[in-house]
């Protein structure tokens, strides 16, 4: 309603201006003035309303300034001026809403991904309910092509889901009974019955939107500078205008000066660029948490990667088992029984292997102790068991003989992580585990280098040999192996002390300290890990490394855009003020230029919304080739 009214007012006052121009051509000057005054009143009404509302709440507003200027113009008989100023003020605001909508669009299209209603099964009947009325435990039916309204578990049916909104990955994922589905994703084809687990604001998708919203408000350094500038600027301009008045004794000039000096484009210049940039990232599956992060991203010159879970898939598999005086199956069963208590991903791999071999784990471990970065010790079935690296075994009095040791080295050279198992101070066997490298990892490193990143580094808790093997395959510059979490932190500190701008990419849990310390912390989003999303500055929703070079380019483009806007806005205001003082710029023309400068700033930012679309064609073929190779 309000909006329609506003555009109507703009139209009417615009038409009145046109009529006034006709009267002017027909030399009906009295009629012309009448039309102009009417135009002023029509367009002035909403401005006066806002000004009065603000005054009543004792808040200062730009509307008040405009009204003072307009009343001044009316008193001295400058009707053209008064009509033009009110019209331009409203028209400018109207155009700004329309164009701002474009920059905000990416977030809005995201929010529109959540459907407003869903089909719920209630007592065997299908009922369509608005999503506010859906509660945990409801059974939701989803047909082909429908958007999913809740986070939940599939209880019936099967289908392919496009999860681009959550992961940025548009290849549909196959979901069947027992799988988790997310609100805001689309069932491409198939049929699903889902039991709602999280609804409304609790869904992963709602949390993402909230993060993006907050990120858009998190201020960049440049932006804060601008705000401080504006804080000094506004009173400064007031003082200046008093000085101008004292010198010139010219009310009209002073009012013009005041209105023109209003820092509209200036205030908006940095935020619009950032919002457009962050919005673009969010759509591409990368959460950039705020303006400051954008600026830091654009400056990064060293990228540090964690290996496991970041450069590799983090889903290791057992590739070899060798028993010393123990059968393979026996060794796996024993190790799995101990590791069943462990949270470590290598431990879980062994447990998974035992399950794959259809083993039933019977014994419970006692005296379970974790030695961080080394392994675990426990008592199992009255036996003292040590599982971990060579150091841990030797510290616990288990000797690793030369034969076993050279076998282990060999396995490591093939890219395996080797786990020693000791029972009652005797080496019982060696389990080899390997983790697949992510498909896009190599191309990511190449792109980063091509974009001007000076150095890529890999930090890993893993052994030297498998670390080197991965690094060689990926073309990473420096490798640091066998690192504990605190070593990683020290390494980042060291790099920062050398004056490098460090980005740390990790999978969020064990790398959290390093991620927090780096200039830019980037976390693999691995859907659902709230902790990762909170510590990091950038979250890669789809765990897709290829988004890092993309985001780097986006950040550079955003910062460039922001600077263009700032210089343009400051320059325009400066020139206009000079123009006013030298009598070359008047209220209406100044207002026009002022509003135009705001529009240009917004239009410039809109270019960022489209960033990446143009380049996609160029990049995809490279992707395809590498993927095949």
């Amino acid at each position: 309603m309000e909006k329609i009214k506003k555009s109507h007012i703009v139209m009417v006052s615009g038409m009145l201006l046109g009529i006034a121009f006709l009267f002017y051509l027909l030399k009906l000057l009295l009629w012309r003035d009448a039309a102009l005054i009417l135009a002023t009143v029509v367009a002035g009404y909403p401005i006066v309303k806002k000004a009065v509302q603000a005054v009543r709440m004792r808040a200062f507003s730009i509307e008040l300034l405009v009204i003072i200027a307009v009343v001044g113009a009316l008193i001295i008989g400058e009707y053209v001026e008064s009509a033009a100023v009110t019209f331009l003020f409203l028209f400018g605001a109207y155009l700004e809403t329309r164009t701002l909508e474009k920059t905000r669009n990416s977030l809005k299209t995201l929010m529109d991904m959540v459907p407003l209603e869903a089909t719920v099964l209630q007592g065997g009947r299908k009922v369509i309910l608005p999503i506010e009325n859906i509660v945990k435990g409801d059974r939701i039916l989803i047909q082909s092509g429908e958007k999913i309204a809740v986070d939940g578990k599939v209880v019936e049916g099967q289908g392919f889901i496009n999860q681009a909104t959550i992961t940025g990955e548009s290849v549909p994922a196959n979901k069947k009974r027992g799988d988790t589905v997310f609100g805001g994703t689309i069932l491409d084809n198939g049929y699903l019955e889902v039991e709602a687990e999280k609804v409304g604001d609790d869904t992963a998708f709602a949390k993402i939107i909230e993060l993006v919203e907050e990120a858009q408000e998190a201020k960049a350094k440049t932006q804060r500078f601008l705000e401080r500038f504006a804080n000094v600027y506004t009173p400064g301009i007031l003082v200046l205008s008093v000085i101008v008045f004292l010198f010139t004794q010219n009310i009209e000039l002073t009012l013009t000066f005041l209105v023109i000096a209003c820092p509209g484009a200036l205030v908006i210049s940095a935020p619009v660029s950032l919002v457009a940039g962050i919005g673009n990232g969010a759509k591409a599956g990368t959460l950039v948490k705020g303006g400051e992060v954008m600026e830091n991203l654009a400056k990064m010159d060293v990228v540090v990667f964690d290996k496991t879970g970041t450069l590799t898939k983090g889903k290791p598999e057992v590739t070899g088992v060798k028993g010393f005086g123990m059968k393979e199956d026996q060794l796996i069963k024993l190790a799995a029984e101990v590791e069943a208590r462990s949270e470590h991903h290598l431990g879980r791999t062994i447990v998974k292997e035992a399950k794959n071999r259809d083993m039933v784990l019977t014994n419970q471990p006692f005296n379970f102790a974790v030695k961080k970065g080394q392994g675990i010790t426990a008592t199992l079935d009255k036996k003292h068991v040590v599982i971990g690296n060579r150091k841990l075994l030797e510290n616990n009095g288990t000797r690793v003989n030369n034969d076993a040791y050279s076998f282990a080295i060999q396995e490591e050279k093939y890219g395996n992580t080797v786990i020693f198992v000791g029972v009652n101070n005797q080496l019982a066997g060696i389990i080899s585990i390997a983790d697949q490298i992510r498909r896009e990892a190599r191309e990511t490193i190449e792109h980063l280098r091509a974009l001007g990143i000076k150095q890529t580094i890999m930090l890993t808790g893993d052994n030297k040999h498998s670390a080197k093997k991965v690094a060689d395959q990926l073309g990473i510059d420096r490798v640091f192996a066998e690192m504990l979490p605190e070593d990683k932190v020290a390494q980042i500190k060291q790099l920062k002390a050398e004056g490098k701008r460090v980005a740390m990419v990790g999978d969020g849990i064990n790398d959290a300290p390093a991620i927090a310390l780096a200039d830019v912390g980037i976390a693999m989003g691995a859907v659902g890990t709230d902790a990762a999303m909170e510590t990091a500055d950038v979250v890669l929703m789809g765990d897709n490394l290829a988004k890092i070079p993309y985001t780097y380019r986006l950040a550079k483009a955003t910062v460039r855009n922001l600077k263009q806007n700032m210089f343009f806005a400051v320059g325009t205001v400066g020139l206009l003020l000079a123009g006013v003082l030298f009598g070359k710029v008047f209220l209406a023309s100044g207002m026009l230029i002022h509003e135009l400068s705001v529009l240009i700033v917004i239009l410039n930012a809109i270019r960022l919304v489209r960033f990446g679309k143009r380049n996609k064609k160029r990049i995809w073929p490279i992707n395809g080739k590498l993927a095949k190779a």
Binding site: K3, M57, A59, S61
Partner: protein, 73 residues
């Protein structure tokens, strides 16, 4: 302490931020008022024993910004 988020019509002028934040900040019981300019929302942290959501909404509406919806967390 409670937090409420008001959804407004699309905000355009950056000066509204100061206007709204200033007016809400003066209200007793309001700990923090923040305008999320780009999502056109106002986030207010307030002490529910001193001020009601109703009062906060009236302040915003009196400034000339109709409140479309509100969410209390």
């Amino acid at each position: 302490m409670k937090t409420v988020k008001f959804q407004l019509e699309p905000l355009t002028c950056p000066t509204c931020i100061k206007k709204i934040e200033g007016a809400l900040g003066k209200q007793t019981g309001v700990q923090e008022a923040k305008v999320l300019f780009h999502s056109s929302k106002v986030k207010v942290t307030f002490d529910e024993t001193h001020v009601e959501v109703e009062t906060l909404r009236t302040i915003i509406e009196k400034l000339g910004y109709p409140v479309l919806s509100e969410k209390i967390a």
